[in-house]
Structures are given as structure tokens and as C-alpha cells.
């Protein structure tokens, strides 16, 4: 501590913080808290672990399966099955990135530093999207490749060169990143960690169950357009009955995410911090 403080007061500076500055700040924010590390680690372990487990279980029963079951087998989708559980961790990360600021009071410091709130939240989404996309794609490959080695024992493995396989594996990473962004939007709207995590879990896991109980055609129609059902289509090479085509389904999930983020941008602009 010293009484030497600062230089003379700065004259009004014409300089303006760029959007790049804001993105860089948000990127640093995401990477400088431990919760990011732990949630992503959990996501990686769950995704790869469950995929390997399912691949092993399937391969060991392959001998007793009927021809019809064998024909339905999709080596890409089965090797990415863990994504459907690992996405919880990505969703939690998406929520924490914004509700962590509200819970600690950091949001006020952030908005004093960057009062252009649309830029602030957009930069946050971009930083979160980049982090989760990189980790998501890596975990997707790390899930796919060892599973194919397991499938190879029954000569049912796929390779990245096969039709649609590369799209499915990269799609796994895109899907995880979008879940994180959807969760960010929910977190920004609710501003509360527990509530937002409950909502994202409800959307991903409870809604599909409820949809199953709908009468007649409604069950499959609604399931198909739910975020998880629609977005998950991008990870399959042999589309199952009643599922949207890969990119159409993915586009539906993008649409949900854009709508929720747009609502969040509107809300953060209007509300008192």
C-alpha cells in the first residue's frame, strides 16, 4: 500500500471498448473459475464412460441378437450415446456461467464495466459457445473412436470416412455446445442457479417422458420436436422411425436456442441489475 496512486486524471478518451474486448473478457471469465473445469470434467467422464459401457454391453450381446436388431444398429449413434447424459454437465455449465454472476453480485461489477448489456450477454454466449464446442467436439471424438475398437471385435464398426459418420461425430459436439447455450439463456432469464438447472433438466429429461404419454400421433410428433429429440437427430447415421432428419432436427434445436437467448437479451436490457 502506498500513497502513490495514479497519474493525472485521464482526459476524456475517444477510445471505445470493442466487442472483441468484451468477448476476450468473457472468455477469461469462463476459464478462471473452477466450476468450469469440474463441470466439463464431469461431462467428459460421463459421456465417454457411458458410451464405452453401452458399446461393450451391446457387443457382448451381439451374438444372440436377431437379424432385425442387427440391421437397426447404428455404430455412430451407439458410440455417442453417452452424449445424452453428459449434456447435463454442459447444461449446468451454461447455467452457472450467468447465474454464478447473479449469486455472487459479480453481475453488477460486470455491467459497470460493460453497460452495453446486449454486447455483454452476446459476448458471454460466444465465449461459452467456443469453450463448449471445443470440448464437445473433442469428447465426441474421444467417445466415438474407442467405441469403434470395441465394435471391431464383431466387425460392426464404422469409420469416419463412412457416409454421415463425420457429421454425426462433429454433430455430437455441436449438440453439447447448443445445450450449454440454451441453458445460458434459461439462466439469464431466471437469474437463479437451482431454478435454472431444474428447468434445463426438465426440458431435456422430463418433457420427453411426458411426451410419451400423449395420445395417438401426438406422442411421436411432440417427441420429434422437443429440444433433445430434435437436436439428437444430428448424431445418428441411420435415422430411426419418427425422428427428424439430422440437419432439420439440429436446426430446430438452434431455433429454440436462438429464441431463448433473444428473450434473455431483451430481459437483461429491460431489467434492473
Amino acid at each position: 500500500m502506498t500513497t502513490e496512486t495514479t497519474t493525472a486524471p485521464a482526459p476524456a478518451r475517444p477510445r471505445r471498448a470493442t466487442f472483441g474486448n468484451v468477448v476476450s473478457a468473457e472468455w477469461t471469465k469462463v476459464l478462471t473459475v473452477r466450476s468450469t473445469f469440474w463441470t466439463l470434467l464431469a461431462g467428459i467422464i460421463v459421456t465417454i464412460g457411458l458410451s464405452l459401457l453401452l458399446a461393450w454391453a451391446f457387443t457382448s450381446q451381439y451374438g444372440e441378437m436377431s437379424a432385425a436388431d442387427r440391421a437397426e444398429f447404428d455404430p455412430a449413434a451407439y458410440s455417442l450415446a453417452g452424449v445424452n447424459f453428459g449434456m447435463v454437465a454442459f447444461g449446468v455449465l451454461g447455467v452457472l456461467v450467468i447465474t454464478g454472476e447473479y449469486a455472487t453480485g459479480m453481475i453488477r461489477t460486470s455491467l459497470i464495466a460493460m453497460p452495453r448489456r446486449v454486447e455483454f450477454l452476446a459476448a458471454k454466449a460466444l465465449a461459452l459457445g467456443a469453450v463448449t464446442l471445443i470440448v464437445g467436439v473433442l469428447v465426441s471424438f474421444a467417445s466415438f473412436l474407442p467405441c469403434q475398437l470395441i465394435f471391431k471385435s464383431q466387425k460392426i464398426d464404422a469409420s469416419l470416412g463412412d457416409d454421415g459418420v463425420l457429421r454425426a461425430v462433429v454433430g455430437g459436439g455441436l449438440y453439447l455446445a447448443l445445450i450449454a447455450l440454451l441453458a445460458l439463456g434459461i439462466g439469464a432469464l431466471l437469474r437463479h442457479t437451482a431454478g435454472s438447472v431444474s428447468v434445463i433438466l426438465g426440458v431435456l429429461f422430463v418433457l420427453p417422458i411426458i411426451a410419451q404419454f400423449l395420445p395417438g400421433d401426438w406422442a411421436s410428433t411432440v417427441s420429434r420436436f422437443l429440444p433433445s429429440g430434435a437436436g439428437g437427430a444430428v448424431m445418428s447415421v441411420k435415422p430411426a422411425e419418427g425422428v427428424l432428419s439430422p440437419w432439420t432436427g439440429f436446426a430446430v434445436l438452434v431455433l429454440y436456442t436462438v429464441v431463448v437467448l433473444a428473450a434473455a437479451l431483451f430481459a437483461i436490457q429491460k431489467r434492473d441489475a
Binding site: M1, T5, T6, A10, N21, K29, M106, R108
Partner: protein
């Protein structure tokens, strides 16, 4: 320079800030004084664009806060302590703020040195004491070397050394030509730090003046006199046209007279004096007098006169001096009028 015009904020039916007009000028420390709940923090949040005003507006350097290109380079603010993510280290916290405004990384090390947090810079801030949290907040405020600085209750939770440090820091920053706006409910602190005052009560600006003028206008100096012949002395001084009040049953307060005049008068009449001391008016007294009507939450201590409903002013400090301009005279207070009409127990 901070300039507010008709600034108004409602939270539901409650008016937090009520048509506030004030200007905070550079080169001096302006104190923002008011009781708890008077609207100080809300006003600061409105200045910083955290909350939206319902009416009126407020500008910093002629612009709304949200229009500032690199806000940290123009305005530094310390709001409540620890508006930080506790899991992030002090260094990384400041680095995030610096990056958002394009401030170079070396400035982070500089401000950490300024506030004396270099040694704990790599530690998560959740382990910080309140004082360290305040220092981190101040480091963030100084990051962009801004010309306008706002501190909301900066000495809260600080040890004496920290208080002295903040006080000197604010004076130094003001001397460099910066605009310093500091809120407090601690009058003794304000009296030592602030050159100028904006006084707020129940969301309304009650006064905007220099600290010295504020005290002069709202509190008066008097002479404290003790004597074993208190009754006689009181009557005598009243007859000389000085206003006399009984303070407890031990001493008198005499207004409008110099110590020499009182001493000579007493000597002329053979009255003994045990004490004769001039009492300077305090900011506290002036403040209580002015905001007695405007205190949001009274302590509610029965019997001491301060726990009564708003509208009655607190007894002890308000019992002296003339009523503030524009307010009704206090009722039920012991006083001797200037024309020598006698009262009290010494007649």
C-alpha cells in the same frame, strides 16, 4: 462531473429517489450523506446505469453511463464490497475487468500494488476479509485511471489503518482534479473527508452545499457554562439578551455570546464559574437537525426521544439552535427566547 436532473426511481409503490437534482464537480470530495434507506445506493446505481430511472436522468461527463465507450476509463465505482465471483483470484478478477475495456494487463499489477493486495493476488477472493474485499473493489475502480470515482460506504468494515488510507486516497484523487463522490451515513467520516455535501433523506435532496456552510447553516456554536449557581447565572445571562438553554442539570448552553462576555458578566455579579468553554458545531448536529424529519427507520428506543415517529425530531442534538429554514419549529423543547423571557428552572 456527475449531473442529475429530476432523477426519480420507484420500486413498486415505494419512492426510492424523488426528483433529485444535484451536480458533483471535479477537484473536490463530494460527500453523499443520508440515513440508511435514504436512497444513496439507489442513486449511485442509477448513475451507473444498473437501474433504470422512472423519470429524469443523470449523466456522467455529459453522457448517460451506457453511452460511455470504455466506462472503466471514465468512471470507477466501488459499490457493495465483494461484488465479485469468490472462486476467481483477485488477479483474474481484475484481468477480466481490464480486458472488457481494453486496458493493458500491466495495469492490473499496478492497481494490485496500489491497494496492497500483491501478496494475495493469486488467491480466490472468497477467502478475503471485508477490508481486503474493499481494497479489491477499489483496485477495480482505479483500473481505468478514471476521472470520476464513486464510492458507496467505502469505510464500512475497515480497520482504522484502512479508513485512514481510504480517506487520504480520496483526498489525493480529488487533488489530482478528479470528481470524487462518496456516500456515507458516518458524519464524523464525512466531516473529515468531504469538502462538499449532497444531503439526501427519503429520496429527496435536502441540501447541496459546502461542508462548512452546511454546518454553519444548520448548527450553531455555543458556549458551555457550568456553575454552582446555575439558576442565578441563567437568569442573568437571559436578561443580557443571550439565548440560554439548560443542558441536563449540570450546565448551560449560551448562544450568541463570547466566552469573555459571559465570564465578565458573571464576575460583575460575583457568580462563580466552574467551566466556560466554546463548543463548535458538528456536522452530526447539523445533519440530525436537517434530516430529523427524513429518517426512514427510527431506532425505536423508548424514552430517549429518538424512537418516536418520524416528524418529531431527535431530542438531544435538535434541542439547540434555531430550527432549520423552512421547517416548523420544534415543539416541546426547552428554550429561552432571545427577548429575555424567562423559563427553565432557574427563575
Amino acid at each position: 462531473m456527475i449531473h442529475a436532473r429530476g432523477l426519480t426511481k420507484h420500486y413498486g409503490p415505494k419512492v426510492a429517489v424523488d426528483h433529485a437534482d444535484f451536480t458533483v464537480r471535479p477537484g473536490r470530495v463530494t460527500g453523499f450523506l443520508g440515513p440508511n434507506g435514504a436512497g444513496k445506493s439507489t442513486t449511485m446505481r442509477l448513475i451507473l446505469g444498473l437501474d433504470h430511472a422512472n423519470e429524469g436522468d443523470v449523466t456522467v461527463n455529459g453522457k448517460h453511463y451506457r453511452q460511455l465507450g470504455a466506462p472503466l476509463c471514465e468512471v470507477g465505482a466501488l459499490l457493495e464490497a465483494k461484488a465479485v465471483h469468490g472462486g476467481r483470484s483477485a488477479y483474474n478478477h481484475l484481468l477480466c475487468l481490464a480486458k472488457s475495456n481494453g486496458i493493458p494487463r500491466r495495469r492490473v499489477d499496478e492497481v494490485l500494488g496500489l491497494v496492497g493486495l500483491e501478496k494475495v493476488a493469486k488467491k480466490p477472493s472468497r477467502g478475503f476479509s471485508l477490508g481486503m474485499g474493499q481494497r479489491l473493489g477499489i483496485a477495480g475502480a482505479l483500473l481505468g485511471d478514471p476521472g470520476v470515482l464513486m464510492f458507496d460506504e467505502p469505510v464500512n468494515g475497515l480497520d482504522p489503518e484502512g479508513i485512514l488510507w481510504i480517506r487520504n486516497l480520496m483526498k489525493k484523487l480529488a487533488a489530482e482534479g478528479r470528481t470524487i463522490f462518496v456516500s456515507s451515513h458516518l458524519m464524523s467520516e464525512m466531516a473529515l473527508t468531504a469538502d462538499h455535501l449532497v444531503v439526501i433523506g427519503r429520496g429527496r435532496i435536502l441540501a447541496e452545499t459546502s461542508t462548512r456552510e452546511f454546518i454553519a447553516a444548520n448548527a450553531t456554536s455555543h458556549v458551555k457554562v457550568r456553575s454552582p449557581q446555575l439558576g442565578e447565572l441563567g437568569s442573568l445571562l437571559s436578561r443580557h439578551g443571550w439565548r440560554v438553554e439548560l443542558e441536563g442539570d449540570q450546565s448551560l448552553r449560551v448562544f450568541g455570546a463570547r466566552t469573555a462576555e459571559i465570564g465578565d458578566t458573571a464576575a460583575d455579579h460575583g457568580l462563580r464559574l466552574h467551566e466556560l468553554s466554546p463548543v463548535q458545531p458538528s456536522l452530526e448536529e447539523a445533519f440530525m437537525r436537517l434530516t430529523g424529519d427524513a429518517v426512514e427507520y427510527h431506532a425505536g428506543i423508548p424514552g430517549n426521544g429518538t424512537g418516536t415517529a418520524a416528524g418529531e425530531r431527535p431530542e438531544a442534538p435538535a434541542a439547540v439552535g434555531p430550527p432549520p429554514p423552512g421547517s416548523r419549529p420544534p415543539e416541546g423543547m426547552p428554550s429561552e427566547s432571545r427577548d429575555g423571557q424567562r423559563g427553565g428552572d432557574w427563575s
